[in-house]
């Protein structure tokens, strides 16, 4: 019996041992073999708090900060901590309804549990903030957290500076998950182009959270934390006072304006009309404002200075002359017998403004009097240059010159989404004319018409080319990057490279062009730009525009084009202005340019200019057809919205409007659709393209 029981004691020990071995084996499996638990525990307990650095500040040429950071407050709620508060009083202070209050608190509790703080109201208005701050002690459970927001102290340069907003899921994907949900990213303008420099480097703080996701302390005493590095600042060429003045001048107008310092290529001012206040896209009303602007057919958020396509018209003439001079086809003394019309192609077109002869005895006179025949002829000389064999090769050479001047190609300005304008390829003409065409087909290219389209930036840059007598720097805004690194230098060096595009033109030939432009101001079409004590060189242009509305082709008032630079000797500013549908080049573009030159060079305005400034800034030149177009676009969108969502809230406005009189159509002379002029619909096309991208949002 004893022996038998002794063996059982051994079996009992064995049972103990086996059980322990099984447990230890499982422990070995969990703790040593399986690696996933460490990460799971970290996911459980470690919270990565992203520390956002301050974004870089942007300065103007005089060192004034034109884009800075300010603090705005979010109101957070921790539902579990709300105790004994006067809810009605709170609702009154925050101007919300009781239902809204209940809904928001419940939502917060559902989304983020009741023990963690979640956003109750983001981006408080200053008055809400003040009211809450005074009474915060009465409302346990509610706290304010600051959030840095971009702010534009001069309320100017919206299109240049751009804005930041939360990254979209698509952008996160495109960035290979560099950005995370809730990150802000520059979405336009310099904010976008210099995102890497302005954003700085995000920091990460690792914090320990508990089972209810409350943060309870630092992880590993902050050993793995990464310090955030503030974004670096940008010094720009922008003259903020000039910019503000230019924006004032372009108020209530559609078009673009660019002012460049020819010596550096630095852009002093750039305006697109219609304009908006950049502060509209920060702060509490930003989404409302964004929605409103993106549905506006006038396209306030479109930068027409780099995206508006305009027919240069006569402003192109001095540029065209450069080709003939560089090719050695003419000398400044070259004259063309113009009797008021060009008969080189037999049709007598184009006609000249000056009906009599003798306004094209030499290059200088031809520019001064803006002789159409002369410059048409110069274009044909290059296209039919025997050196190149046939018109297509000749044309390609001419086109190459244009591209060298920055026309028909992207200049590479430091803004996203620049348009390259249009200098058509031979294939376009081949297609239109079944391969058979000659220099008569597109002769008006010589006077900046036909299919030629340029942005205000390109025209201003071409002025720099003339002002500098043969070279330009790629137009750009940023002069210096704070603590510039080698990497930055690589980015910014292209703006410091001089483009010597015209090397075969001697000084005196350039002088003929410049003097011609000076004559335009002295006694030609740009007399309005005369400034006592400053020799201004300029060229006006007037381009016909059309649009198609309600199935009819409508002629719109002409685009007013104006290009200039000053002073004649040692030029310091070059300007290109286009005011859409405003009339003659000199009427609006002229005085606008004059005021800007005065401001920039003299820092004061003469009496006449002060009066002009008053008059121009108050002039409303918004084309009338926009009203009708807006109505149409909105109603079409309302229908589409209704079809998609069965939500008739937008549509009602239009169905009820049937009983009301419709907005009057612009009473412009209707012109039958003309195939040859078909390309001139660019104004409206630009808007349509722009609008096509915009989606209908939620009701504001």
């Amino acid at each position: 019996m004893s022996v038998f029981n002794q063996s059982r004691s051994r079996i009992i020990r064995l049972i103990f041992l086996v059980a322990f071995i099984i447990i230890i084996a499982q422990l070995f499996n969990l703790q040593v073999l399986s690696g996933k638990f460490k990460q799971l525990a970290k996911d459980n307990a470690v919270f990565e708090k992203i520390i956002y650095p301050e974004r870089g500040i942007i300065y103007d040429r005089k060192g004034k900060a034109i884009l800075v950071n300010t603090l705005i407050f979010d109101l957070l709620v921790t539902p579990a901590e709300i105790k004994n508060i006067d809810t009605l009083e709170f609702c009154r202070l925050m101007s919300i309804s009781l239902e809204e209050f209940k809904k928001k608190v419940t939502e917060a509790a559902i989304k983020n549990t009741s023990v963690r703080p979640s956003i109750f109201e983001d981006l408080l208005t200053p008055s809400q903030q003040a009211r809450f701050e005074e009474n915060s002690w009465r409302f346990p459970g509610f706290t304010m957290v600051e959030r840095p927001v971009r702010s534009y102290p001069f309320n100017a340069a919206a299109h240049i500076l751009g804005y930041i907003s939360e990254v979209s899921p698509k952008q996160i994907e495109q960035s290979n998950d560099f950005y995370r949900m809730g990150d802000y990213k520059g979405q336009n303008g310099l904010e976008s182009y210099y995102e890497n420099i302005l954003m700085g480097q995000r920091g990460v703080q690792y914090l320990i959270k508990d089972n209810k996701n409350r943060l309870v302390g630092q992880y590993e005493k902050g050993e793995f934390d990464e310090v955030s590095i503030a974004g670096r600042g940008l010094k720009t060429y922008i003259d903020i006072e000039l910019q503000q003045l230019a924006e004032k001048l372009m108020a209530n107008k559609v078009g673009g304006l660019v002012a460049i310092d020819p010596k550096t290529g630095g852009i002093l001012a750039m305006v697109s009309g219609p304009n908006f206040n950049p502060n509209d896209l920060t702060g509490s009303d930003k989404s409302k404002n964004y929605g409103r602007m993106s549905l506006d057919v006038t396209g306030p958020m479109l930068n027409r200075a780099i995206n508006g396509l305009y027919e240069p018209g006569s402003t192109f003439k001095p540029i065209g002359a450069l080709v003939a001079l560089d090719e050695g086809l003419i000398t400044p003394s070259y004259g063309y017998p113009c009797g008021g019309r060009y008969f080189g192609c037999g049709s007598g077109k184009p006609a000249c403004t000056h009906s009599g002869g003798g306004h094209s005895a030499n290059l200088r006179a031809a520019i001064a009097y803006s002789c159409n025949s002369y410059f048409t002829h110069l274009y044909r000389m290059e296209a039919d240059n025997p050196k190149y064999g046939n018109v297509k090769l000749g044309y390609l050479k001419w086109r190459e010159y244009m591209n060298k001047f920055g026309l028909g190609v992207k200049l590479g300005v430091d803004l996203p989404s620049e348009n390259k304008g249009n200098i058509p390829d031979t294939s376009v003409y081949n297609k239109e004319n079944a391969g058979r065409w000659n220099s008569c087909t597109n002769l008006t290219l010589g006077i900046g018409q036909d299919k030629m389209q340029a942005t205000p930036l390109q025209l201003a840059n071409a002025m720099c080319l003339i002002a500098n007598k043969g070279y330009y720097y790629t137009p750009h805004f940023v002069k210096e990057i704070e603590n510039e690194t080698e990497e930055d230098t690589a980015v910014i060096n292209k703006f410091r490279t001089r483009h010597n595009v015209l090397t075969h033109i001697d000084d005196s030939s350039f002088s003929a062009v410049i003097e011609g432009m000076n004559d335009v101001v002295k006694f030609g079409t740009a007399r309005v730009a005369q400034i006592p004590g400053i020799e201004v060189c300029a060229k006006t242009g007037t381009a016909e525009t059309y649009t198609v509305l309600d199935g009819r082709r409508i002629k719109l008032p002409n685009n007013s084009m104006f290009v200039c630079f000053a002073p004649k000797e040692n030029p310091r500013i070059a300007i290109a202005v286009c005011v859409q549908n405003a009339g003659f080049g000199a009427t609006w573009g002229g005085p606008i340019s004059r005021i800007l030159i005065e401001k920039y060079l003299n820092d004061t305005l003469q009496k006449k200019s002060v009066a002009d400034l008053e008059r121009i800034s108050k002039a409303d030149l918004m084309p009338a057809y926009f009203k009708r177009l807006q109505y149409k676009t909105d109603s079409v969108r309302a229908i589409e919205w209704f079809q998609k969502t069965k939500d008739s809230s937008y549509l009602e406005k239009y169905t009820s409007a049937i009983t009301k009189p419709l907005p009057t159509k612009p009473s412009k002379k209707e012109i039958p659709f003309n195939k040859k002029q078909g390309n001139k619909d660019f104004v409206i096309k630009e808007n349509e393209n722009y609008l096509r991208k915009q989606k209908f949002g939620k009701p504001a």
Partner: protein, 446 residues
């Protein structure tokens, strides 16, 4: 307990005492790690009776006093009062029914002033003593099934009462006394039947009912084929095999589902199925509840404990994170960590190495108790020692197995380490009665 008093210290097994002190100390550290909050004044908290670790420390001191009293008691006292003690224990258990206070889903706790009192916990001592007393009676012939039945009754009666108090975990502990009975000559066939029943139960859970019935039938046919010669000679064998087959299928088909549906509570069934990673087929689906909903609910419910416990243990790796850097512990991700899941604290803080040391200590303790048991001259002492070893083994094995996901979650504490006064004092008393009996091992107690 001091060496200076030869009367008390004589014959004491110091190795057991040291293992005991070590384990309680580990427990104190673990409870401290699980409940310490950043910035608590440690010394002050330890001295005041406010935090869990300070309470446990005072329970430890209280345990020391009790141990001293036990060592001062004559060892005959324990055998003499065994039956009386058992009666008191059962009475206390029954007292729970009218007097219990409702604390976290259990009906087994009596509130006495500031203390919570759980009779089912300390009743183990009386059962161990009473069983030892019964088995050591000269007139008991344990080879008779009558005696075996009485012994089983003594062991299981408190268990049955505990089940009625929805303390299934504590009830199961009483099954561990079968180890004592096995040592004292319970036929091996019972052990085999126990294993067979367990296998049958696991099979029922894991394998689908029809397949499992087929497998059982196949097994029966196979047995008949193997024993075909013997069957020819002895018809009764065939009948036996068929009867066993019917019994097995019956259990698989009817008994197990009946137990799951009617005896066990829903969450207990849930935990058993979670252990095997199978959806509970007895769960009543709520209307409109999709499978995904149910899964989500499970993850936050019954599976949450074990999942977080596994994360805590697994993330400890080989050498652990250090006692106060253990994020799972400090963040309170494992529910009931200071009590039933205290093992996680050790595993996360000290890693696999720490676990092996702790389990090694336990194994040493168990083996030492078996050794002590085998050197007793008196059957009473031996049976009691085996009783202690069995109860400790069951607690340790099931508790740790539950934290690593090898056993369903039943709320039983880890001896000497888990927070809880009743539990610590119960095990202290159990162990020191053993030490006291062992000190008088030359004496024959009845």
């Amino acid at each position: 307990m001091t060496q200076r008093n030869p009367a008390i210290s004589k014959g004491i097994d110091w190795s057991l005492v040291w293992i005991y002190i070590l384990l309680v100390t580990i427990g104190l550290i673990a409870i401290f790690a699980a409940t310490y909050k950043e910035g608590d004044p440690i010394l002050q908290s330890f001295l005041k009776f406010r935090t869990d670790y300070s309470k446990q420390l005072y329970f430890f001191f209280g345990g020391g006093v009790l141990a001293l009293l036990i060592l001062l008691t004559d060892s005959k006292f324990f055998s003499a009062t065994a039956n009386l003690g058992y009666a008191i224990g059962i009475f206390a258990l029954l007292l729970v029914f009218p007097l219990h206070s409702n604390i976290k889903g259990t009906n087994s706790i009596i509130k006495l002033g500031a203390f919570n009192f759980q009779p089912a916990e300390f009743c183990k001592i009386f059962v161990a003593l009473a069983l030892a007393k019964f088995l050591s009676r000269p007139e008991t012939d344990f080879s008779k099934s009558r005696s075996q039945l009485i012994a089983a009754g003594i062991a299981l009666l408190p268990g049955v009462i505990s089940i009625l108090q929805s303390e299934t975990g504590l009830a199961l502990v009483y099954f561990s006394f079968f180890i004592v009975m096995y040592r004292e000559g319970l036929p091996s066939v019972f052990l085999l039947i126990g294993f067979a029943l367990a296998a049958l139960m696991v099979g029922t859970i894991v394998i689908s009912p029809n397949t499992f019935a087929l497998i059982l039938t196949g097994l029966a046919v196979f047995m008949i084929y193997i024993f075909r010669r013997q069957i020819k000679r002895q018809r009764g064998l065939l009948l036996k095999i068929v009867l066993i087959w019917i019994l097995c299928v019956g259990i698989q088909r009817f008994a197990v589902p009946y137990v799951f549906k009617n005896i066990l509570q829903r969450h207990q069934v849930e935990r058993i199925y979670d252990l095997f990673g199978i959806d509970n087929p007895y769960a009543e689906k709520k209307e409109g509840e999709t499978a995904a909903d149910a899964k989500k609910k499970k993850e936050s419910g019954s599976q949450y404990n074990v999942r977080q416990s596994k994360i805590a243990i697994g993330s400890g790796r080989l050498f652990g994170k250090g006692i106060l850097s253990a994020t799972q512990t400090r963040g309170g991700f494992v529910p009931e960590q200071r009590t039933d899941f205290i093992f996680d604290t050790v595993a996360e803080g000290f890693g696999f190495a720490g676990c092996v040391v702790l389990l090694g200590l336990y194994l040493l303790l168990l083996f030492r108790i078996v050794t002590v048991a085998e050197r007793q001259r008196s059957t009473f002492s031996r049976c009691y020692a085996y009783g202690v070893a069995s109860v400790l083994f069951f607690h340790i094995a099931i508790n740790v197995a539950m934290t690593v996901g090898l056993a369903p979650v039943i709320g039983i504490p880890l001896p000497f380490v888990s927070y809880g006064g009743t539990s610590l004092l119960t095990f202290t008393i159990m162990l020191f009665i053993l030490i006291r009996l062992d000190a008088d091992r030359q004496m024959v107690l009845r």
